[in-house]
Symmetry: C2
């Protein structure tokens, strides 16, 4: 929204079936296909897989269904950012269990730089801690210290926040990892890659009127609206619910 203020965005949140991070690849592929079909019916010109877990295990499902519509995903973006910021030191990656077990970050990073060392750690409690709103709480600090101990022992130069919830923990994580480790958030890189791709394909919007945002969810919107506005720092307007 900030990087591409002229673009209309349709956001889809599968709130009735989240979290995805501890579910199987087969189930995530099934949900992903359903959501992709829905978004394609909204006549979109680009698809962004903005959930790391979905990007880790089901980006190919999206690409297959999207045919000639361009598809970006946050792991591709995160891997680029991580390599750019690694300064020759090792890269730490934190994410949900499904993302980490998929090894998708390590594969994407090694495709860009085969020599870099990658250390991964699943952090299953970070999503519930963020949703509880304990962004700066002794419980979250203690949990982060425990999860990050093995990664920090490898003296990594950067740490990829491989889940869209984690950037809300940035101030706390910065304390825990110390000044020598850069935190890599794929959100900004994803927005940059999207802007570049839209330009490259000649499909960027030049319409300067007020932009319309649609937020679509699968559960009753109330909780999404509360948490979404905490993430976004502004009102979401009307949130639609699809019946599945």
């Amino acid at each position: 929204m900030e990087r591409l203020p002229l673009e209309r965005i349709v956001y889809f949140g599968d709130t009735a079936r989240v979290p995805y991070g501890v579910k199987s690849v087969a189930t995530i592929e099934h949900f992903t296909a359903q959501i992709t079909e829905f978004l394609l019916q909204q006549d979109v010109k680009m698809l962004i897989v903005a959930c790391n877990t979905m990007a880790a295990v089901a980006a190919d499902v999206v690409r297959r269904l999207a045919r000639d519509i361009p598809v970006l995903d946050v792991i591709e973006a995160g891997a680029h950012a991580a390599v750019a910021e690694s300064n020759g030191r090792g890269i730490g990656v934190i994410g949900t269990p499904t993302t980490i077990n998929s090894n998708a970050y390590a594969r994407r990073i090694h495709a860009l730089d085969p020599g870099v060392r990658v250390y991964s750690q699943a952090c299953p409690l970070f999503v519930p801690l963020v949703e509880e709103g304990w962004l700066d709480h002794p419980v979250t600090r203690l949990t982060a210290q425990e999860y990050l101990k093995p990664v920090l022992a490898e003296e990594v130069g950067s740490l990829v926040l491989g889940c869209t919830h984690y950037p809300l923990l940035k101030p706390l994580l910065r304390d825990v990892v110390g000044p020598g480790v850069r935190l890599v958030d794929s959100a900004i890189t994803t927005a940059e890659l999207a802007a570049a791709k839209l330009l490259e394909l000649g499909i960027a919007s030049t319409h300067a009127g007020p932009t319309a945002y649609r937020f679509v969810v699968t559960d009753v919107p109330l909780r999404f609206q509360t948490i979404g506005e905490r993430f976004l720092g502004r009102s979401l307007g009307t949130v639609e619910k699809v019946e599945w």
Copy 2:
């Protein structure tokens, strides 16, 4: 299984869509109807709503669909146990946000004893902490101390573990609440009520052969099998997956 060793049991776990505890009543009612229809097709003679969140907001959906098949639920059982153990002191209830917001425990307890004081507290992080296996961990202890502080300040005589995950935290919770507070686990009361109801209706099994257990889930069974065997303390055998 221990109280009614002659009965065949079909267990259904909606692993592709859990947790229910932070989802809306409308979505839980929808999932509940689907699962009830499935179990009725298995030709069961009794239905037990063994999830506190579902019992709190959707037990009526089960009763309506079940028609003349008896339906028991863990909140009814927990309310009976809580009143029996309250000794004239206040009752604390902990559960998921949806269970606590529904006020179902307070309503059921007050139907049995209108004079008793009930203090409720949502504990959204307990389910993820149990699933992480941190049953005796400083993070879990700190979280429990924080959640239980307001309830303990009311000097309750008992604390209802209003979620099927919480009994795994019993040793830790016993430490946190101290010797003056009894922990009420509805599982045993539910089994007792089921046994009494089967006898009363003359439908208890007298077949003494080896019993068959079926475990049915909606996600790939692997994770369910691991966590389920940790809960149950024994092997689950084959776990089936339904395609929805």
